[in-house]
Amino acid sequence: MAEKKSWFQKLIDRPRKPYANPYVGGVLLGLSLFFSLLITANGLGASAIFARTNGFLVNLVAPHHVDRVPQLIKVAGGAKNPFNNWITWEVLGVILGAFASSVLFGRFKPETPRGPHLSEKGRWVMAFFGGMIFLFGARMARGCTSGQVLSGGSTLSAGSWLIGLVMFAFAFATAAVVRKLWS
């Protein structure tokens, strides 16, 4: 007798399909970026939603503190809604798209991708600290892979190309140093 599966389990159990040719994925990214600039005058972004969520949370816990921090007062405080910004809608679209794509191609699965020499918990700890370092850097650089490298790169911003080059150089160098992390 077949076990009755929940709808959620059915989504997770869809057969895993191979990834697309990354050049094709790149064309889709490029078209999204082009239409973003054509319609909204903004490029793509991602790290801004972290800044706005941070502003929202701090405002919730310590509203007076927001007024004393220049980084926070830009996005929150007073009558300002931190999420009243184009980035919120874009990220909502990203979540919808990621859900649709991962379910469609059978990659919607609870799992922890990791290198062969790292435990699941070890990977979580690394991901946490890596995220911390990355977003600190993204705030410093005023944009991340999407906002600086992709958007600034295609609009030929000089600073964005420099940031992209430095980022790739440090990524390759770090990868060589922490080889055990991923292989």
């Binding site: 889709l28 600039l37 054509l38 679209g93 799992e111 295609s154």
Partner: protein
């Protein structure tokens, strides 16, 4: 004319809807490229695969070509779209931290959102860590506030750095990107290890490379000269010339120059060396008309930094100045005017004293607007009485006398451009 947001064609709801669709496309592009999985993403940096370079550089190439082709044909206004401003050193430090973070963390912000949605547990931790990192940054920023805002160069593009037009940059960036693709293909084939999924270089790669380069060369080929750009705006700008709304009288120029507290007035002398050496206004910048294009980026930067900047072009008569006016207007320098009647009229109005002293004499063959209507005893340049009309005890009387003798034509327009954007 695009972007649509700048002409408010969509409204708030329409824009939000467009952002959602853009986000969906963005996420699909990342997910199908393999970036909903940190092991696949970091595979680039060990050459288990070359997916990050393939996908991201394709995205940049496609978007860059489409953006600048649209700009070239006058469909998209490059001045209005968001171009990340350059903060040199904070950018370098931030880029380095991001490079470290992507290897340790396995994601970047965009891919961590995609992967979290696809139930990758490490991505949840990346997002949590990211929020902590953002919090740490906002709380500690006051400690390095000076550094964070240092080495600011504004909206600097590669065109500004290399002093070439965008068509040229697009073509050379396409060459660099295609070379990077081949280097990446070579490295993946060379370093692939046991656990490597086979990703052979596609058979169509050479053809695709050639097509990409040809398309980029096409953007260069159609990149408009200033004449073509003038043709794009002539319908709205030519009437201003005809109705003489941009030709300001010598009285207005002298008065405007004295409004130093509210206006920055840049006088551009576009004549040849000979005329310039004979006589020129003391605070004018000498840029012959055929060298004017090279100075456009500088003027645009000045206008951006000081919105209350007025550019006034002077030549002997009006012909050369009108030509120069068209160049600057075609290249979207704001608030450009020219001196009515040229320096000939200026001397007629302010040269009385110099003529009384015999330094300047009226020429007989007057009337040719390309030439000065006057003879000069010596090439004194700006050492004439008439060359300096800035307020001082000597001039106060004149300034007072002329300040109502003209119909003011200068209207300073504020800057146009994105109010915000990027990863704000």
């Amino acid at each position: 004319m695009f972007p649509l947001a700048s002409i408010h064609a969509l409204g708030k709801v329409g824009l939000a809807f467009a952002e959602i669709l853009i986000g969906i496309g963005f996420a699909f592009g990342l997910e199908i490229s393999g970036f909903s999985n940190s092991y696949v993403l970091t595979g680039q940096f060990y050459f288990r695969n070359g997916r990050v370079i393939k996908s991201m550089f394709t995205a940049i190439l496609v978007a860059m070509v489409l953006i600048f082709a649209s700009v070239a044909v006058g469909l998209l206004d490059y001045d209005v779209i968001w171009v990340d401003p350059t903060y040199l050193w904070p950018g370098i430090v931030g880029g380095a931290l991001m490079g470290i973070g992507i290897i340790i963390g396995g994601y970047c912000p965009g891919t961590s959102i995609v992967s979290s949605t696809a139930l990758k547990k490490d991505a949840w931790f990346f997002v949590l860590g990211g929020l902590v990192g953002t919090f740490l940054f906002s709380e500690t920023e006051r400690l390095f506030h000076y550094f964070y805002n240092s080495s600011f160069y504004g909206r600097v593009t590669l065109m500004d750095v290399f002093h070439v037009n965008a068509g040229v940059v697009v073509f050379f960036m396409a060459i660099i990107i295609v070379l990077t693709f081949w280097l990446n293909e070579w490295a993946v084939n060379k370093f692939k290890r046991e656990d490597t999924q086979p990703y052979p270089t596609p058979r169509w790669a050479p053809i695709a490379s050639v097509v990409a380069l040809l398309v980029a060369a096409g953007v260069w080929a159609i990149w408009p000269s200033w004449q073509q750009r003038w043709n794009q705006v002539a319908a709205t700008q030519e009437p201003l010339l005809q109705q003489r709304q941009v030709q300001i009288s010598p009285y207005e120029l002298a008065t405007t120059l004295n409004k130093t507290k509210t206006l920055q007035t840049i006088v551009i002398d576009v004549r040849d060396d000979y005329s310039y050496n004979l006589f020129h206004l003391r605070w004018s910048r000498h840029i012959p008309v055929d060298e004017l294009l090279a100075a456009v980026p500088e003027f645009r930067k000045m206008a951006k930094e000081t919105p209350a900047t007025v550019f006034v072009i002077v030549s002997n008569g009006e012909d050369q100045a009108t030509q120069a006016w068209k160049i600057l207007v075609a290249e979207k320098v704001p608030n450009v005017y020219l001196l009515e009647g040229g320096l000939n009229d200026w001397i007629k109005v302010f040269g009385e004293e110099d003529m009384a002293e015999g330094k300047i004499m009226e020429a007989k063959a007057a009337g040719d607007t390309q030439l000065l209507d006057y003879y000069f005893a010596e090439a004194l340049g700006d050492r004439y009485r008439a060359a300096d009309m800035l307020a001082d005890p000597d001039n106060d009387e004149i300034i007072e006398k002329i300040k109502d003798q003209f119909v003011p034509k200068i209207k300073v327009k504020g800057p146009s451009g994105p109010a915000g954007g990027g990863c704000g």
